[in-house]
Amino acid sequence: MENVLMQTVTSLTDNVISFEGVTKTFGEQDAVHDLSFVFPKGKIIGLIGPSGSGKTTTVRLMTGIYHPTEGKIHVMGSDPRSFTLEEREKIGYMTQNFVLYPDLSVKENLAFAGAIYGFGFGHRAKRIKNLLEFVELSDDSKKLARNLSGGMQRRLALAAALIHDPDLIFLDEPTAGIDPILRRKFWDHFIDLRDQGKSLVITTQYVNEASYCDLVGVMAEGKLLFLKKPEDLMKTAFGGDVLMLNTEDSLSDTLNNELQQLPFVQGELTFLQDGSLRLIVDEAATALPQVMEWFKNKELALQSAEQYFPPYDDVFVKLIEDYRSNIETPAENGGLA
């Protein structure tokens, strides 16, 4: 992961997407700036970032809708500008906004989407039935798209993007406006698709959904700040794994100092308002027994000690705040700008 760009150079076949110094400018404004990364094949790659961070532009560059102002892009080994028809047939794309036909019914929209990819009536009928069941629109298949709620329109758009069973799927905020239960179902399906060997690039503003991804790209102000596994993002945000300790008695300054000096402890100790103690360590799995041993040796009563997984919202906010405060730079934390 640390040198994803090098993998692009050495092994294009294992990567589905690669960017080399890609910048896209609209007028005087850089929508994305100097993006370099590779996305491995058969993974779910999540792109998260605040609104206007360049997620949609990046997806559009990958699909060939936008052409880069500078840099090189390879998707499935080809420049998106010169995709062949066969390569295009392998791509599924769901836009951020609802872009289907409001005067057509749910089923008619899906039939049209399937027909674009050359699926005849017989072939697409079963596919449409399955997809309607998946997005839970079977009972609404005759409804006109304009009469659907926002969430239902997103579900219809997702079904349309998957109608031709694509290998490389770009989903721009597919779960926006979807209730949590169905959202979970969607992610289960995405994971199924991944397991079938398909590659998915998914943008989302639900940061917690990052946990479903194999790799998460954090974007801000047109730059890719990090591209890491979800758990690595937490380490990046907090400087290591987080342990949460509850003691019966408060620790003296001497003990605090001693605890902080342990070799696996990173940075300052944090005492939270509820009296608990937050400890940043290299690896929670190895550090936790040693911490418990240290408390035991010091004859201090430890009510509970566990690894703490902060919400991804907190991780994301921390990362963005740190970036904006210029505390961290991509070069220092291993991210790829």
Binding site: R60, T63, G64, I65, Y66, H67, L85, E86, R88, E89, I91, Y93, T95, N97, F98, V99, L100, Y101, P102, D103, L104, E108, A111, F112, A113, A115, I116, Y117, G118, F119, G120, L144, F170
Partner: protein
């Protein structure tokens, strides 16, 4: 093989999508098709093409000898003028004209005979209150027409007078014939003295005839010469009279003691025959109605076209063409604008659809939709409005296909020029306005000067109207030049639309 299958799947799907979308916009269909068609129907039911008589007031002085004749004649002209009144007050007539109580004021001049005798034409002035140039032209024509009617009226009076005179000389001719016959009989009996008596009587008869026949003989002779009659026969009364007077058997006294008078008797027989011809000529002249003498020709115009073309029927091909063009332009211009604004174009750009395929599919879809509407329109006008259809339905189909093809090109180009649906509709309306003025729908293209007329040939409807009128109303085959021009125009527009779509889809 799979590619070919996909091609047809896409075509059918595009058609289905566009068709369903159009069907689910009833207001659009109402606005584009039913609305204009109802207007046409209303126009057809209400338009008579018969101009109402012009409300006319004559201004003529009370002592003008024409006053009574004008009143009588105005009654005969009730198909063009409605006599509102006759007055000697010019100001009254002008007041009526200014408050639109009358359409036409006609001033009959005084002293007509004096003016004519002084070798000048008498001037009839007409006043109107029109502002429409076409109406002004009609009023000028009406003035000339009324002057012509009055001129004919005078000529007819002269002819009637001539006929009365001709009837009066009839007994004189009878006397001349009788005396000539008696002269011949006396000579045959050898009674030279009595023959001389009758000879003198014939001379007297001929001199009186020469004076009496005057006007009518000149009039009849003039008619003969003007219209190519035989001047040596029945029309040449004066010449015949002169011949009878110059006859030696009449002009020279008989000599007594001649061995025989065979030559004189033969001359007298000839004289008698000429006088009989003269009698026949005068009888013929008096039997001709004075109106025929003054208006020997009347015209009757017949159409070489098999069907009777009413004003509504004449406009039907143009209306069909304009409706189809407008509908096609509007639908196609809205179609791509909607795709662009809704974002579906973004999906197309990621899909395996090529720009030419998208355009072809759209063309095909709207062509089929247009043909369906054209079929309905054609059936309604043929069997609902009883419009003539003298030509071939196949030719009509070719014209409609080419018209729709070219109109789609205009529509798609409009869609690339428009950022919003409102702009697309506005530009489509401008195209319609252009077509109404420059396609020959209302105005004959011959009235347009070059280079303005070139604009007409940039409008599909121009070709469509020409070809459909020829087909429906004249029953003639398609004009090859128009057909190939429209097809070429359509192909050029398709090419431009393809380039624009390609550019739109290529990059942002």
């Amino acid at each position: 093989m799979r590619r070919i299958g996909s091609f047809f799947v896409r075509i059918f799907s595009f058609f289905r999508k566009e068709f369903v979308e159009v069907l689910r916009q009833p207001k659009l269909i109402l606005t584009l098709i039913l609305g204009p068609f109802l207007i046409l129907l209303l126009f057809g039911l209400g338009y008579t093409n018969q101009r109402p008589p012009e409300r006319t007031m004559f201004v003529i002085s009370k002592d003008n000898p024409f006053a009574e004749q004008i009143k009588n004649k105005a009654a005969d002209l009730d198909y063009v003028i409605k006599l509102v009144g006759v007055t000697d007050d010019f100001d009254l007539m002008m007041r009526n004209l200014n408050r639109n109580a009358i359409d036409l004021g006609v001033i009959i001049p005084d002293n007509v005979y004096e003016t004519i005798r002084s070798n000048q034409q008498a001037l009839i002035e007409t006043y109107h209150n029109q502002i429409d140039p076409a109406q002004i032209t009609y009023m000028e024509y009406m003035g000339a027409f009324l002057a012509d009617v009055i001129n004919r009226q005078i000529l007819q009076s002269v002819a009637e007078q001539g006929q009365i005179e001709a009837q009066n000389v009839g007994p004189l001719v009878d006397n001349a014939i009788e005396n000539t016959r008696n002269t011949r009989i006396m000579l045959e009996q050898g009674d030279v003295e009595s023959a001389q008596h009758y000879q003198r009587a014939v001379r007297g008869n001929l001199s009186t005839l020469q004076l009496a026949v005057g006007t009518s003989a000149s009039l009849l002779q003039g008619i003969n010469q003007e219209f190519g009659g035989d001047a040596g026969s029945e029309g040449d009364i004066l010449a015949k009279l002169q011949t009878t007077q110059d006859n030696t058997a009449i002009a020279q006294d008989f000599q007594t003691g001649q061995e025989n008078y065979d030559q004189e008797i033969a001359s007298l027989q000839e004289e008698e025959n000429i006088l009989l011809e003269l009698q026949t000529d005068l009888d013929s002249f008096t039997s001709i109605h004075p109106a025929i003498i003054t208006r020997p020709f009347v015209s009757k115009t017949k159409s070489a076209i098999q069907a009777e073309v009413s004003p509504t029927s004449f406009f039907i091909p143009g209306v069909i063409v304009l409706l189809l063009q407008h509908m096609t332009i509007t639908l196609s211009s809205l179609s791509l604008v909607r795709e662009r604004r809704a974002g579906t174009m973004e999906l197309f750009r990621v899909s395996p659809l090529k720009p030419v395929e998208i355009l072809f599919n759209k063309y095909f879809s709207y062509l089929v939709i247009g043909l369906l509407i054209a079929a309905i329109l054609a059936l309604v006008v043929r069997f609902g409005l009883n419009s003539p259809m003298l030509g071939s339905w196949v030719d009509m189909l070719i014209v409609v296909v080419l018209l729709l093809f070219a109109s789609l090109g205009v529509g798609f180009i409009i869609s690339f020029l428009s950022k919003t649906e409102t702009q697309a509709v506005q530009l489509s309306m401008i195209a319609l306005l252009f077509s109404v003025f420059f396609s020959g729908f209302f105005l004959d293209l011959r009235y347009l000067l070059y280079p303005v007329r070139y604009i007409s040939y940039l409008i599909p409807a121009t070709y469509g109207i020409q070809m459909l009128q020829l087909n429906m109303l004249r029953g003639l085959p398609i004009n090859q030049t128009s057909m190939f021009s429209l097809a070429g125009f359509g192909l050029a527009l398709f090419f431009i639309a393809w380039l624009l779509l390609r550019r739109t889809m290529a990059d942002e």
